[in-house]
Symmetry: C2
Subunit: 208 residues, 2 copies
């Protein structure tokens, strides 16, 4: 693996584990057993590393935000969407844990992050509209708009919320399952009765 | 007004406007036209000011988190609860904007904040259970638990979410109305049909 890639991988791991504010470029160089000068040869500073990691995250979540175009949608499309979104967030969770700080340090990153949020909402709207057409859910377009926004809020902040409620601040317990469950709970009341029962069963299986 | 109270009021205003990380004790002393020494006579450091402001916030939101005990609940109880919660959050919004950072700097504050979150959920559960009894909403206890948790997530992070979506990072536009609307949208599908229509009307009036 190239040194620049190893720097990114090591940084991602350290940021996720300890939070980006607590990690310096010296920590990263130490962990890799390279000199700070070698690290600076590849990246000007920590913000540059964070920005490159953000771009990888953006690429990953973009794949999750594709709406299937040419076929009828079913509940599994929504499930897959949520699962992929949460998985991307989890892989790059340091971005979310320290979001305010990170977006306040780079206007470029802030604008791109905003665009991802808008796409999250737009994709959720498209999926819900598809599910209305196949009669899996029943909702007005106003309800769909509010629902998709709430899906984005819960997906975006679930890790932070869960961390604050937990006792161990640096907990790296994977709480993806609970996050997906909470978002499905947003959708559940709009489901057709039989789908709602199916969802309750699927949710329990998923959490176990 | 006593100097210590003036320091707290000035700090709250500056923190809300610019974010706590950007404001130093020197900024606060300058704004009040007092010497840094005078400020330090009252507060050891910025974290001490933040902690005192947090205690005022805690007192304020505690009043919002009382469940009416001895009478039937109606939709207005829920509305009042949400309105008061959002109002408290808005008044001390700097805490929420920079939550991860603030709770990571003080274990005391972190534990108290966690307790507020738990009370937010507990109060929401109590209100929803009351509304099930008066047949305003229809939901199982599992649905109520997930719903109350989502209410707490959206209420806690609405300001951050809205700020990131907005173009102006330091926007101080009051978006309480939209936040309350989004939370009501979580509850709406559980409402009895006629209540759901009433809510849609109330929501529009509230947003206008």
């Amino acid at each position: 693996m190239k040194t620049s890639e190893r720097i990114l991988q090591t940084s991602l791991q350290l940021f996720n584990e300890h939070g980006a504010p607590r990690i310096t470029t010296n920590h990263i160089a130490d962990e890799m057993n390279i000199s700070p000068g070698n690290l600076y040869y590849h990246f000007r500073n920590k913000d540059e590393i964070i920005y490159q990691l953000f771009l990888s995250y953006e690429k990953k979540i973009s794949d999750a935000l594709q709406v299937p175009q040419s076929r009828d949608l079913n509940m599994e499309d929504m499930w897959l969407y949520l699962h992929l979104v949460f998985e991307s967030i989890w892989e790059y969770r340091f971005l979310y844990r320290d979001l305010e700080n990170i977006v306040s340090r780079s206007r470029k990153l802030r604008l791109r992050f905003k665009r991802i949020l808008e796409r999250k909402i737009k994709t959720a709207v498209a999926i819900f509209e598809g599910l209305v057409q196949t009669k899996v859910i029943q909702a007005t377009s106003e309800e769909i708009q509010a629902l998709a926004t709430n899906v984005a809020v819960v997906a975006t902040y679930w890790i932070n919320f869960h961390n604050i409620r937990g006792d161990d601040r640096n907990s790296n317990d994977n709480n993806l399952g609970l996050g997906v469950y909470q978002v499905m709970a947003l959708v559940s009341p709009f489901l057709r009765e039989d789908m709602r029962k199916l969802l309750q069963k699927l949710s329990h299986d998923y959490l176990d």
